[in-house]
């Protein structure tokens, strides 16, 4: 107080001089019994002293016959109070402005340091060090607990309290916190000293998911300046944490996108773009993946001994796991099918299952698989169907029928027991091999296209070319699905005897 009064004496000068000019011996300003300043020094015997109290202390005058001056002195005391109030407010405002300017300058320099940091933990380590430098506190900590992210706990310059204790404490006081309010929690540590832990809530994604904390000995209180600064750093930390997580998410998405792009390239290189010409057959291929990578696969291989293998399959599930297994499966089937002499479809399926079983079992996945072998000379088709959607077989002028699976898909059991069956593919006979993305197309009412409709359609289109049959089926399925987004991959091979 006396410091403030000393610095404000200029404001009292005019009043003091007016009193001296009126004939008093002295005019003085006192605070808490201590003389702050005396104007005039006239001292003589039988002098009187008149005192008027005010907010900041009291005014005194000395002189002869001055008792009647009390009224005027009291008024001056009120005037001095008003003057000193204004002076005090001015000083506080200046201090506030200086503090705010300091905060802005410091936050600006912190911002320069942290703007390139995208790792949230590294960011908070830097902020903790800066906060420790600027706020009168012994220890700083940050606790971040965001859903689906690993928790982050940062301490500076040391960790004197258990993380679990701090997290539990933050949970227990959370319900008592209002936005922007902070609370303290006394904690008795091993050395018997009480410490205060200040939890400052940090809003991340508009909810209180984090805390900045200041730990002080009980007798080392934070000033209002420290609290304001700590709050400013906590608010800044909240925004930076959000940015860091967003940048990390964007980088992760870009990485996943690159990986999917590579997987897509590999799949495209594995799958035929169109079917090769085969003597005695009219063939057509259609492939519409539902997304960039697919679990459907197909192949047509012309072997030197006049045998054509046609293959179609569907891996369970979606995304990268299905795409990886698709590539592996097709490679294995091709290798097994390439063994000389030409193996039968059931043998290819059984041997492929032996090789792939562990991979499918470990991945909790399976693959449907249909393999047909067409003999150019005899026009006979030997086939085996391991859990795949029925193949539609429509003999020329006849009724369409389904060639159903007689064993479970690949990867279910260690051994496969599919059988081999035979049909003929004479001129005009049609085979439609498709994955379930065709028959399981659903309409707005969630009803499936189904095999009954598919067989009727194949009968109607059977006299057309393989390309027209394929396109006709696709158009019908697309019309059936309407505006619904395609949910499953569609692969279809039409093979017609000519």
């Amino acid at each position: 107080m006396s410091e403030f009064l000393q610095s404000s004496l200029d404001q009292v000068n005019p009043i003091a001089e007016a009193w001296l000019a009126s004939g008093v011996s002295s005019f003085s300003l006192w605070s808490d019994g201590t003389l702050i300043k005396k104007w005039g020094d006239g001292i003589s015997e039988d002098q009187e002293t008149v005192t008027a109290p005010m907010k900041y202390g009291e005014l005194r005058i000395t002189g002869r016959d001055i008792n009647s001056a009390l009224g005027r002195l009291s008024i001056d005391a009120k005037i001095v109070t008003v003057i000193l109030n204004q002076e005090n407010n001015r000083k506080l405002l200046c201090e506030e402005l200086v503090n705010t300017r300091d905060q802005l300058v410091i936050l600006s320099s912190i911002s320069e340091i942290t703007r390139k940091i995208i790792d949230p933990e590294e960011l908070l380590s830097v902020l903790a060090a800066e906060a420790h430098r600027l706020v009168n506190t012994e220890e700083i900590f940050f606790l971040i607990n965001i859903e689906d992210q690993a928790p982050i706990h940062v301490f500076y310059p040391r960790q004197s309290l258990d993380s679990e204790y701090l997290v539990e404490t933050s949970r227990s006081i959370k319900s008592k916190l209002q936005p922007n309010l902070i609370s303290t929690h006394p904690y008795e540590n091993g050395d018997g000293k009480n410490r205060d832990i200040l939890f400052i809530p940090i809003r991340v994604y508009k909810s209180e998911l984090a805390y900045m904390g200041c730990i002080n000995n009980h007798d080392n209180e934070l000033t209002s300046y420290d609290l304001k600064f700590a709050r400013a750093i906590a608010d800044y930390a909240g925004k930076e944490i959000e940015k860091a997580y967003l940048m990390r998410a964007n980088i992760e998405m870009a990485r996943i996108d690159t990986e999917i792009g590579l997987a897509q390239k590999i799949q495209k290189s594995l799958l035929l773009k169109e079917l090769p010409k085969v003597e005695g057959l009219d063939t057509y291929l259609l492939f519409q993946p539902a997304s960039r990578i697919s679990g459907d696969y197909y192949d047509l291989v012309i072997k030197p001994n006049g045998v054509i293998d046609f293959i179609i399959g569907d891996i369970s599930g979606k995304g990268m796991p299905a795409a990886l297994l698709m590539a592996m499966t097709l490679k294995v089937i091709r290798s097994v099918a390439d063994i000389d002499p030409s193996p039968t479809p059931d043998w290819i399926i059984k041997r492929s299952n032996e090789i792939l079983y562990k991979d499918y079992n470990d991945s909790v996945m399976f693959s449907t698989l249909f393999i047909g072998q067409y003999n150019l000379k005899t026009r006979e088709v030997s086939y085996s169907n391991a859990g795949h959607s029925p193949i539609i077989y429509c003999p020329a002028g006849g009724r369409a029928e389904m060639l159903r699976a007689d064993s479970v898909p690949l990867g279910i059991f260690e051994t496969q027991n599919c059988q081999i069956r035979k049909i003929r593919l004479s001129p005009g006979d049609v085979l439609v091999l498709a994955t379930d993305g065709i028959n399981e197309t659903s309409n707005q009412s969630s009803r499936l296209f189904g095999f009954t409709q598919l067989m009727i359609l194949v009968e109607m289109l059977a006299q057309k070319s393989a390309a027209d049959i394929c396109e006709g089926i696709l158009q019908a399925v697309q019309a059936y699905g309407g505006v619904k987004v395609q949910e499953d991959d569609r692969a279809m091979m039409v093979i017609k005897g000519v």
């Binding site: 569907d314 959607s389 699976a405």
Partner: protein, 112 residues
């Protein structure tokens, strides 16, 4: 999709309702991972209220069946609606699971 579980005569029963597919199957997988490894591992999966099933869901049921059989138990299915039954028949997985018309039949069947 929703799941509800209880125990009847020492047999664990899981009732699934809605669409049982890649987007909803994780809760069933977690339940089966736990229950199919506990002895006794006899489980009834009630699909009466399931109107759609996909290959991901089938793979999860198969995994659960293998886990249960490793513990000398088994999984059976009951209450299959026509679309679900058809999927199992077309993939021949109807030969892998015992299939019953309702829960009571399934519980009796597992106890035998």
């Amino acid at each position: 999709m929703a799941i509800k579980s209880n125990v009847v005569n020492n047999i664990k029963v899981l009732e699934i309702s809605g669409s049982f597919d890649i987007y909803t199957a994780s809760s069933v997988r977690e339940w089966l991972d736990q229950k199919a490894s506990e002895i006794p591992a006899n489980i009834v999966i009630d699909l009466s209220d399931v109107h759609f099933i996909d290959s991901t869901a089938l793979a999860i049921l198969i995994r659960g069946m293998k886990q249960a059989r490793e513990q000398d138990g088994d999984i059976c299915l009951c209450g299959l609606q026509q679309p679900v039954r058809m999927v199992l028949e077309l993939t021949r997985l109807d030969k892998v699971f015992e299939i019953y018309s309702d829960q009571n039949e399934a519980i009796i069947g597992l106890k035998i």
